[in-house]
Subunit: 220 residues, 2 copies
Amino acid sequence: MATDTKDRILDAAEQLFADLGFSTTSLRDITSEAGVNLASVNYHFGSKEALLTAVLARRIAPINELRLQRLDEVERAAGSMGPAMEDILRAFIAPPFEMKAACGDGDRKFVRLLGRVHVETNEEFRTAFIDQFMTVFSRFIEASQRVLPDIEPNEITARFWFIVGAMAHTMMWAQTAGLTDTARDPNEAIESLVQFGAAGLSAPMLQPVPVRSGNTGTGR
Amino acid sequence: MATDTKDRILDAAEQLFADLGFSTTSLRDITSEAGVNLASVNYHFGSKEALLTAVLARRIAPINELRLQRLDEVERAAGSMGPAMEDILRAFIAPPFEMKAACGDGDRKFVRLLGRVHVETNEEFRTAFIDQFMTVFSRFIEASQRVLPDIEPNEITARFWFIVGAMAHTMMWAQTAGLTDTARDPNEAIESLVQFGAAGLSAPMLQPVPVRSGNTGTGR
DNA sequence: GTCTATATGCGGATAGAC
DNA sequence: GTCTATCCGCATATAGAC
């Protein structure tokens, strides 16, 4: 547990935002959980929204840096023949799941907050978060396009977006009892996502088929 | 536009909950949008939470019924040789996207609310929603297991959960400019998800590999 | 059924003593 | 830097006239 006030607030806010969401969590919740005075939040951070930004910034920058660094490694190691789609995906997916190991004592609660952020549409979250995410996202789209030249670029973007959704959903619900295997090894979750995503991204393009019940036009 | 108070409230609440989220939207927002009196919400529904339940109930039951009905059709049409995975998935994915057509004048805003509900962890949402969803979910897992006997049951569940996440994410962001192709034909989105999901679900099982940067153990 | 007026509480934020 | 006390607005919900 952190010892100084600022970190105690950050830790408590991270946990509560992850569990309850941003607007549902009050500053009083946070300060009582952290064992600090109510006024200290505004003293140290200025506002509730600024606190959220600080909570996110503490974790997100390292994650995105790690993603880009791993992507570089993967591409360099593969040389001219190009990397495997699985390795590109692993560079994208693994870092947030590895937060705990990567950040020392980083609370794994943050993983759920990250899942939540991927899904919140509030203006506050967007400005604090989406911009830098899109930079990383674009880099991975480019890398995927080189590996999958037969898939239309728009389709790759759509499919990669599906993977982001699957990842966010997994992080959101990973610790909810009764819905998923809570005791599951994080590495297994990563590998499942990687295999699933690589197969989905590589699926051959089809001619559009009419969408109606009972349709069997896709064949198999 | 609905003419009587109760429906006007439901429509406005549906739209605002979808755009802003449940806790962020006030009853004042809803009544002023609906052009009705503030007190009428409590008169007709009893509380804000009960209003949310009513908003969800109006759409969810038909969607889940349609899903199960289509799954039955697909399995019956396929006979003893079993249906294609794509057709099972389409039975699951298409109904929420088709809300507008299926419910007459149903507001397509609900699709975003549905995406949000899949992701909200609040107690209110869960009790109102998760239970009946899990029933449908289980039915589709069973059908998938019959089609994919080589994939471990736990893995099928995990992968189908990925698809739910991809679907929810897509619905959430479908109308957000700048992130996805907003003008995209819903049928195309459905087909992309179906092809992506079928390929991902069918991916062969691999031996676990150590997860580290630069890992190329997946081969290709 | 619909309105006005209001009860009651919690929210974020701040002033000012220490 | 930390605390107490408080401002002030907005939230849900309800009482009671019409």
